[in-house]
Amino acid sequence: MAQERKIKIIVAKPGLDGHDRGAKLLARIFAEAGMEVVYTGLRQTPEMIVEAALQEDADVVGLSSLSGVHNYFFPRVVELLREKGLDDVLVVGGGIIPLEDVDGLKSAGVKAIFGPGTDTNAIVDFIKNNVRN
């Protein structure tokens, strides 16, 4: 029986924000949930993140921001993915993101936003249920 392909996820920190506790924690939790994880490290531009997604043939891009730049960076990543023909890559985000920004981000193509206090199991489940086949 052919082995099921692992979900491949890029965990990325866009911009200059250095708060990486959540990103690193989730990288570990995704790996334990059976995903293949690439953590980009800090100071990523949208171009760098999309390049990583392309190189790695990623199924999912997880973006983390706690510095208030999500409205600029998250939609930009979605836009660049589309330009590269990676429309079916699932993009999710988390961090300190005011509720009033969530609808805008979702309509820009970010499929889910996970705020502080989210149960990590819920994030794993969401990814498993929404990733491309």
């Binding site: 250095g18 506790r21 509720l99 009033e100």
Partner: protein
Amino acid sequence: MSEDKSLEKLKAAKEKWEQGSVQKTLSKAPERRKVFTSISDIPVERLYTPLDVADLDYERDLGFPGEYPFTRGVQPTMYRGRFWTMRQYAGFGSARESNARYRYLLEQGQTGLSVAFDLPTQAGYDSDHPLSMGEVGKVGVAIDSIEDMRVLFDSIPLDKVTTSMTINAPATVLLAMYLAIAEEQGVPFGKVGGTVQNDILKEITVRGQYIYPPKPSMRLTVDLIDYCFKEVPKWNSISISGYHIREAGSTAGQEMAFTLADGIAYVQACVDRGMAVDSFAPRLSFFFNSFTNVLEEVAKFRAGRRYWAKVMKERFGAKDPRSMMMRYHVQTGGVTLTAQQPINNVVRVALQAYAAALGGCQSLHTNSYDEALCLPTQEAVTVALRTQQIVAEESGAADTIDPLAGCYFVEAMTDRIEAEIDDYIKKIDAMGGTLAAIEQGFVQKEIQNSAYRFQREIESGERVYVGINKYTMEEPPPANLLKVDMSVGEVEAAKLKKLRAERDAGKWKAALDHLREVSQSEENVMPAVIEAVKARATVGEICDVWRGIYGEYRPKEFV
């Protein structure tokens, strides 16, 4: 009766109590859990008695406030003389907006300033740099040149107010601007007081605002310390920070251990430069977190003070008692705040501030209850400031020194945390020092493991977090959040364009050329940096000079 005999008697009595009264109660009603642990995973016993502090020698281990080993505090009268400095970290948008917030806070009884810079400033980029996109004025104030600094401190007398600046990789540049503004106000350097964070090691391990590789970064750090010791004697030239280590997930003991390990590295670097330990050590300061578990926090602060005093005396041979004092700022735990039922955070902050006061801090920032949602609104900042004013004026914590000394539990916990610190320092020494330990990822992995353990405890329900995994409720979306004007970036970029067009290009170029020359020699860079900021060179331009010489740091990631 001898002390040994009395302890034996007590031991027998305690056993009797355990087998009698305790067993009787347990047989009817078991305790809430099998093992109790602090938030840092330290086991907590049912009861502490003199048996747990049998080895405590009062004069050796505790002593008196203002005297070695400083367990009870660094000043002889502590808050009976004056309260800790109430210092709220603030800054957002433009220099003009932040100046207004500072003046408001000073009017409300705040006694010192604490400047938050935006990320481009912290990373040494001008507001119009491509990497600054979306970040200008977001998490702090945007400062590009001396012009912005002048506006930031408009109508604030720099001989009367002390200022703490959270700036690390470009610390020399922002300090140079501050000194230049003081000079414009007619305030001599000798009267200027404040702190720059200037702690690059914790940027590399946990905070992420580094620019250059560790070695040249350390050179800039030591240049600043050396310059302040000679020219700005009231300035705290470094704030060795555990705050961010804790925020990244460490335990209380790890926070103290890794911070003091960084402290040892800085002292060693200064000594290696040829500085006498008692010349610079009195101006070293520290910065810690405070979580909600009050007694553990108090023990952490006391253990840290005692351990640092021993390090300075025994390891570095300091003679001046001031060199042995761990003086520190505290900020309440940002990561402990919840986005759920945010008003509950007022209570968390109050307990954390109470712990900081009982622990003997020198200055304190209390977080605002809305910080898990956004940058704090003026209303939330006011409640935060009032919280520490209530702790100071109403709780009684400030009226007697180190009131928890002699508490069996707190003394036992103090010893336990001190032993944990010692353990880590020995391990790190064996690895070749903190820089080597960081390069191997040891420090990062220890912190990440603690963060992971905590997360799992919350998700399994093993540890309760109110509003997160217990006592949750449906609530309306939060209202009245602070919004930072998105146009700050454009305004700052326009200002930069004007500055570059109007400044004396010859003077500007000469100053940067001179800085480049000095930076390649062994001469202290500070005078050349001051000259450059006066010639209206920007933060980005000065940092670029060093990028050209030292290169940029890209850390290995340990996940």
